[in-house]
Symmetry: C2
């Protein structure tokens, strides 16, 4: 039911050092309340969280510091979910958290959409270029290599 840091590392394809580092810089929450010196223990939910962090890092290509602020969205939503479990849900506080989460989500979305668009443009250009290269190759194949010049108008 509870995983150790080595298991987690294997599961997500990284190293224990990296996980400790992420915790060190505040990118991951400190694993529960753990008397210093004792082994860290993780739940599957935390493994998923780590997966998500690494995915965002990979796809957004931002520094771990920027990523930390972007992840405030997840934090907020996690807290919302936690508050939903309990019953003392002061609605004003919930509203605050939701607004905060929304703001961070918008920032993430803007970032993602921008990159997505740029990538699409790049993809289009590349496939156009590929077409041209392919055409040139075909021309070269059908045109028997004559001695003189003038292969394309």
């Amino acid at each position: 039911m509870s995983l150790r840091i080595g298991d987690v590392a294997r599961l997500v394809g990284t190293t224990p050092r990296t996980i400790r580092y992420y915790e060190e810089i505040g990118l991951l929450p400190e694993a529960h309340t753990r008397p210093s010196g004792q082994h860290r223990l993780y739940t599957h939910a935390e493994v998923e969280r780590l997966r998500e962090v690494m995915r965002l890092k990979e796809l957004l290509g931002v520094s771990l510091d920027e990523l930390k602020t972007l992840l405030a969205a997840e934090e907020a939503r996690a807290e919302v979910r936690a508050q939903l479990q309990r019953e003392d849900v002061q609605p004003e506080r919930r509203r605050e958290l939701l607004d905060e989460a929304l703001g961070h989500l918008e920032r993430q979305l803007a970032l993602v959409r921008h990159r997505s668009l740029e990538l699409a443009k790049l993809e289009h250009e590349l496939s156009e270029t590929r077409k041209r290269v392919k055409r040139k190759i075909r021309e070269l194949e059908s045109n028997p290599p004559l001695a003189s010049a003038a292969t394309s108008a």
Copy 2:
């Protein structure tokens, strides 16, 4: 007609140091034949080339070393264009260059498509999450904050 390293840096939004560094590691060709000690001079074509390099770096998120091998495509195509100008175009050599360029293009495209897909997935997930958060906020607004619980089923 010819720009100096500082102008180029301003034009593409980087620093002279970076440009020199890129030249140093072979990512950019050495600016023409330049007696060591003399100022580097650049054409607008070279500025565009640098822009493209920085764009690919940004969008693909690869190391400068990987980028160097990926850029072999541009090199090959540049050489093809150069050979088209001249008339002694040994067609077998052209075929080699075109094949090479095609290979590199395929690699770039595969990379771009993969990232593009992943980003699209992420974008979808994010906008779904945003929907849910917005809905929750609306619920909170329409439901007058009563004393008891039960806001959503």
